[in-house]
C-alpha cells in the first residue's frame, strides 16, 4: 500500500528517468488519491494511449526494481479476446499499465475531454480520470475493494448520471456489449449493500439500455459471456 506522497515520489522518479514526454491517465485508487477521496492504494492504475509511452514507463519501472508479472488470470471479454494489462510488481505497490482500454472499457476522446486535473512530473504527465469514469471502470471488476471505492465515490462526488448513461450506451457499441448489465448489477448491489443513493430512474434507464442490447444480440444470434476481472 502507498499513500499520495509516496505515489508522487514514484511518479517523480519515473518522470525524471523518461527521455521524452509521456502522457497517461490515472484511474482507480490512484486517481482517487489525487482527488483526496482516498488515502492509500494497493495498485497504481495508469492508462496509456500510445504503446511507446507504455513501453517507456514499463522500462523505467523495471530499471527502478519493479518486475513484470507474467501469470495474469481472470481478464476476459465476451468476444474471447484477452486484453491483459502490464503488471509491474514492486515491494510496496504494483503498477497496472493499460493500453487504450481497461478490461474492455474503451478510453476514447469524450473520456479525455472529461478530465479536469493534470499533474506534471517532468517528462511524465498524469491526467486524472473523472469520478464518473472511475466509477464505471470499477463496475468491470469483481473485487470487494472496488465496491468500497465506488460507494465512496458516489458518497463524496456529485456524480453526473447523465454522463454515466450516455457513456454506457457508447460502451455497448465500442467496448463491452454487456457493459449495461455489469453496471446495472454493480449499482443495484451498491444500493442494497452500501445503502448508496442512486436515483431510481438511472437504474431504470440502465435496465432499458441492457434489454435493448440483449434484444439486438439475440437478433444477431450472438451469445455473450460475461466474466469479470478478479486479479
Amino acid at each position: 500500500m502507498i499513500n499520495l506522497e509516496e505515489q508522487i515520489s514514484l511518479f517523480k522518479i519515473i518522470g525524471s528517468q523518461l527521455s521524452k514526454k509521456v502522457e497517461c491517465i490515472a484511474i482507480g485508487g490512484s486517481a482517487m488519491m489525487f482527488y483526496g477521496a482516498k488515502t492509500t492504494t494497493k495498485d497504481v492504475d495508469l492508462v496509456f494511449l500510445k504503446k511507446d509511452d507504455l513501453e517507456a514507463v514499463k522500462k523505467v519501472l523495471f530499471n527502478s526494481g519493479f518486475d513484470e508479472r507474467k501469470n495474469i488470470k481472470g481478464v476476459f471479454r465476451e468476444d474471447e479476446e484477452i486484453i491483459k494489462p502490464v503488471m509491474m510488481d514492486g515491494k510496496e505497490t504494483r503498477f497496472d499499465l493499460f493500453l487504450n482500454e481497461v478490461i474492455g472499457f474503451i478510453v476514447h476522446n469524450e473520456l479525455i475531454e472529461r478530465i479536469k486535473e493534470l499533474h506534471d512530473f517532468g517528462n511524465l504527465r498524469v491526467k486524472t480520470a473523472s469520478p464518473e469514469d472511475i466509477l464505471m471502470m470499477k463496475a468491470c471488476t469483481e473485487r470487494e475493494k472496488d465496491r468500497d471505492d465506488a460507494a465512496e465515490i458516489i458518497k463524496k462526488f456529485n456524480i453526473d448520471w447523465e454522463v454515466i448513461l450516455s457513456e454506457t450506451s457508447k460502451q455497448t457499441k465500442i467496448g463491452i456489449a454487456a457493459f449495461p448489465i455489469l453496471l446495472y448489477d454493480f449499482l443495484t448491489e451498491l444500493k442494497e449493500n452500501y445503502k448508496i443513493d442512486v436515483q431510481k430512474n438511472v437504474i431504470k434507464d440502465l435496465l432499458k439500455i441492457a434489454e435493448k442490447m440483449i434484444e439486438e444480440l439475440k437478433r444477431k444470434d450472438k451469445l455473450i459471456r460475461v466474466t469479470k476481472y478478479k486479479s
Binding site: 508522487i8 489525487f34 493534470l118
Partner: protein
Amino acid sequence: MMDIQNITKKLEGLQTVDSIAVSLGIARRTAVNYVWALRKEGFVETIYGKRKIRMYRISPIKAPKFGYPGLYEFLNQNSKIKVYPPYTERIYDHKPTAEEMIVKAIKTGNLRTILSSLALFNKVKDWAKLSQIARKENIGRKIGALYDAARTIIRVRKMDKKTRKALLRSKIDDKFIVKYARTKDLQQIEKEWKVSFPFNKADLEAYKE
C-alpha cells in the same frame, strides 16, 4: 448538527452568501455561519468578485495540495486579467517560473490566456532563459511581439538587447499568435516581429481598469 458532506455536495461550485441562503432555504445569517463551518473543515476557498463581493468556491472533497500551481493558477496569482481554469494543474518536479509560464500560455493559443500572460513579463528574471525556451518551442518572435505589446500598457522590466536580437532572429512555426486572429492595431509591432497580432488596443485596456 449539519451534514457537511451533503451540504458541500448541494453547494458545489461558486456561491455567494445570498445564493447559499436561497439554495438551502436558510437565513442569510445562518448561511454565513455555514460558510464559516465549511471553511474550518477546508471545503471553501474565498475569492473576490467585482466590487469586492465575496464568492465562495465550494468543493465536496478536500484535495491535498502538493507540488506547485500550474499555468492557470499561476496566471491568476500574478495577472490582473483572470482566466477560468479549464482544468486543475499541479507541477511537482520544480517550481515553475514566469519565463516558462509565458511560453506555456502562448502555446495554448487562447486569446484570454495570452492576454493574461502579458503581466508575467514584469516577473521575468532571466531573459536568456526565456529566449532559450521560446526558441526551443519555435515561438521566439511571438514572445518578442507580446513583450512590446505589454510595454505599451503596463510597466515591464527591460529586456536586454542580446535577448531581443536573438528573439528577432528566431524561427516560428506560423505567424499567428492566436490562430487566424489579426487586428489592425499595433501594426508597427507586427511589422517588426513579422507576426499577426491578435489583440487590439481595447483588449489591452483591460489592464487599466
